[in-house]
């Protein structure tokens, strides 16, 4: 039998090794994580980042839940300061409330820059995303004009104090699930950086309180900025629940009165005759005894 030459043996091992390596590489192939970051600023309340983590799965973009993200503020000369960590929820979303931020230290035209970083894990490669925003002065108030309440809002650049014109603002009434748009979908600020929107009547609010929001939505420079203004001219909602009233579908203790009266009259009337009949049977039985006496 002819012995294989060392060349063939080397070649064979090389091919096997290459196949094994390719297989391992494919097995370890990690998905690319996509991070999108939005900055929200609620005037006089809080600033936060809304982060969405996704990857491109077989059926389109799918949320990545339960991954840990680290949030940094970007300072001068690209130095970073960690603001904290947060995990994504089942929808791949994380809301990171920004505390301890440092003001006006970025070396860009923006006031604040943030970096969201994912270090990578068994399934996803490392990823990051950044966002930069500037501070905005957005004030909202209620004014009564010709007996009609109006929401007035003003946008200014806080650094220069100049009015910001032709900027789109939305006015909404805060609701439990989805805000109610007041007036038109979008209003643009005038040359004084103002809008004025009439509030329609008949709006309901808990204890008559209405919580309006003036919103600058996903602006390239300022991000999303929300200013709240409350008013007490809402209509107090009346409880129209039939839970405590006597209805056909109420529990036994809340039977409608007519149902208590008429069926019971029928039932007791019929059973009175039945019991009378049984009493008469007893009388028949006793009448024999009386005859004997």
């Amino acid at each position: 039998m002819k012995t294989p030459s060392p060349f063939y043996i080397k070649t064979l091992f090389s091919v096997l090794f290459a196949l094994l390596f390719i297989g391992q590489t494919q097995a370890q192939k990690k998905e690319r994580l996509r991070l999108s970051v939005n900055h929200f600023s609620v005037i006089d309340q809080e600033d936060y980042l809304n982060i969405l983590a996704r990857y491109k799965g077989e059926s389109g973009y799918e949320p990545v839940s339960g991954i840990s993200l680290e949030i940094f503020q970007v300072l001068a000369e690209d130095s970073l300061i960690s603001l904290g960590n947060i995990d994504t929820n089942t929808d791949g979303i994380a809301k990171f409330i920004i505390k301890n931020k440092r003001a006006h230290v970025a070396d860009t035209v923006f006031d604040f820059s943030y970096l969201v970083q994912f270090e990578g894990d068994d399934k996803f490669r490392s990823a990051d995303s950044d966002i930069s925003v500037s501070a905005l002065g957005l004030t909202a108030s209620i004014e009564i004009i010709d007996s009609i309440p109006h929401i007035q809002a003003k946008m200014i650049d806080p650094k220069t104090g100049e009015a910001l014109t032709e900027e789109p603002l939305r006015v909404r009434l805060k609701r439990l699930f989805k805000p109610l748009i007041i007036g038109e979908d979008t209003y643009f600020t005038d040359e004084e950086g103002q809008i004025s929107v009439a509030v329609p009547g008949g709006l309901q609010g808990e204890n008559g309180q209405l919580d309006f929001e003036v919103v600058l939505d996903e602006h390239d420079t300022y991000g999303t900025v929300i200013s709240h203004v409350t008013a007490d001219f809402g209509i107090v909602p009346t409880d129209e629940s039939t839970f405590n009233s006597r209805e056909l579908w109420s529990p036994a203790g809340k039977t409608p009165v007519f149902m208590l009266i008429f069926p019971n009259l029928l039932i007791f009337g019929i059973w009175f005759v039945i019991l009378l009949s049984f009493r008469n049977l007893l009388l028949i039985f006793k009448s024999k005894n009386n005859e004997n006496n």
Binding site: A252, T255, L266, I267, I284, N290
Partner: protein, 437 residues
């Protein structure tokens, strides 16, 4: 032997013949099989039935409605004929009362068989809501049982006293009849109380029977379901009960007449009258069926049209037309002719009427449940159809056998034809005292 003694001899209860014993054994075997199936149903739960998310009421409820309807015969013949003083009723009323009593007892039992947790029966009472048709049903069935007992028992008192004397050579039996007759002597005082009470109960049972049938209908029509959501349902059920009750009465009367050889007392004239009553019942029920099935076809929304289509031409078409032709049209056509009202033909017509009436209840209950307004999500496709399981059939047959056994035992120990009243009508006695002849 005097005419009176001969009458008592002919009408007194008799021992079972060989065929009677076999009949009772057959019924007991069916009941035992049903009890075994029921015990297994309690142990394993209602998973042994074929009732699922769609058909959450099945053959048990159909059977219950059938029993409730059959019990209507008691008020129909016993009360109406009694109050209108129809003399031809005499040999029929007690049989009608016995059927009604047996049927309403079994209706009460059947509803318990349908419960997943029979040990919680008392919840029906302690958690009762007066707004619920289920509560009305519990109350009215209990009430109807009491009234059916009274309307059966009160007129029996003189006959039980007669049997006490008749069986004087059998002391144990005589003693029982004596006790059950409440020491009846036929005194003026006893008769006065008895007549007054019978009159009172006979008047009462008519509205109660109407309420019972109506509540039975409202169990369905108060739910917003295709095929049930109908203002026609109350009278429709009453008319249906009138038909099945009459059919059941005719079939039972025929068998008792044949077995006890009572041709002298239950004559062809009675069958002729009963035949006419059956035609009347079938015509009234046909009228309500037209209202229930034909008219909606013109105006009905899509979902109901689908339901009706299923009945007319679809999965249930065979059963629907069997019930409609066999239970409504055939009796009317056959019984319009005098020969059709002869006892034998009338008996077979009545048997068909009773069978179709049972299936009619099945058609009222099941197809509607299988066609909800919204399809039920996440259930196997097989749950969209329903046919009773072996457990359900065994239990159902046991209840039917139970009703037959109650009737058989009552017929065995009670005079099926009122002895004293027959003697009075024939002038053999006057005021309970034997005429000297």
């Amino acid at each position: 032997m005097s005419a009176y003694q001969q009458l008592v001899e002919e009408l007194a209860p008799r021992k079972f013949s060989k065929a009677g014993v076999i009949w009772v054994i057959f019924l007991v075997v069916l009941i035992v099989a049903g009890v075994i199936a029921y015990i297994d149903q309690i142990i394993q739960g209602q998973v042994v039935t074929n009732m699922r998310d769609y058909a959450l009421w099945g053959v048990y409820i159909s059977n219950f409605v059938f029993f409730v309807a059959t019990s209507f015969v008691g008020s129909m013949t016993a009360a109406i004929l009694r109050l209108t003083n129809n003399s031809w009723r005499t040999p029929l009323v007690r049989i009608a009362e016995i059927i009604a009593f047996a049927a309403i007892i079994m209706a009460g039992i059947t509803i318990v068989l349908d419960m997943g947790r029979p040990d919680r029966l008392y919840h029906l009472f302690i958690n009762a809501r007066l707004q619920s048709p289920i509560t009305w049903d519990v109350i009215i069935i209990t009430t109807y049982i009491a009234i059916s007992f009274l309307i059966l028992y009160l007129p029996l008192l003189p006959d039980l006293a007669i049997l006490k004397k008749y069986y004087k050579d059998k002391p144990a039996l005589s003693k029982w009849y004596g006790k059950l007759s409440l020491n009846w002597t036929g005194s003026a005082a006893q008769r006065k109380i008895q007549n007054k009470t019978i009159q009172m109960v006979a008047v009462l049972i008519i509205p109660v029977a109407l309420i019972l049938q109506t509540i039975d209908a409202w169990l369905f029509s108060t739910t917003y379901r295709i095929g049930w959501d109908s203002t026609n349902f109350g009278p429709y059920f009453i008319a249906g009960a009138f038909l099945v009750g009459t059919g059941c009465l005719i079939a039972t009367v025929y068998i008792i007449r044949k077995v006890y050889k009572l041709e002298k007392y239950i004559t062809d004239f009675h069958f002729d009258r009963l035949g006419k009553m059956l035609v009347l019942a079938a015509l009234i029920y046909t009228y309500f069926n037209i209202n229930e099935y034909l008219l909606p076809y013109y105006t009905t929304p899509e979902a109901e049209a689908k339901h009706l289509y299923e009945l007319y031409f679809g999965h249930y078409a065979g059963m629907f037309w069997f019930v409609t032709i066999g239970g409504l049209l055939m009796p009317v056509i056959v019984l319009l002719f005098k020969k059709g009202r002869s006892p034998k033909v009338l008996f077979w017509v009545s048997v068909v009427v009773v069978i179709t009436s049972w299936w009619k209840r099945y058609l009222i209950v099941t197809p509607t449940l299988l066609e909800p307004f919204l399809p039920i999500q996440g259930v196997p496709e097989s749950w969209r159809t329903y046919w009773p399981s072996l457990h359900e059939w065994l239990i159902t047959f046991a209840t039917l056998a139970g009703a037959c056994l109650i009737i058989t035992l009552l017929v065995r120990y009670l005079p099926v034809i009122p002895v004293e009243r027959t003697a009075l009508e024939k002038g053999i006695i006057s005021n309970g005292k034997e005429e000297q002849s």
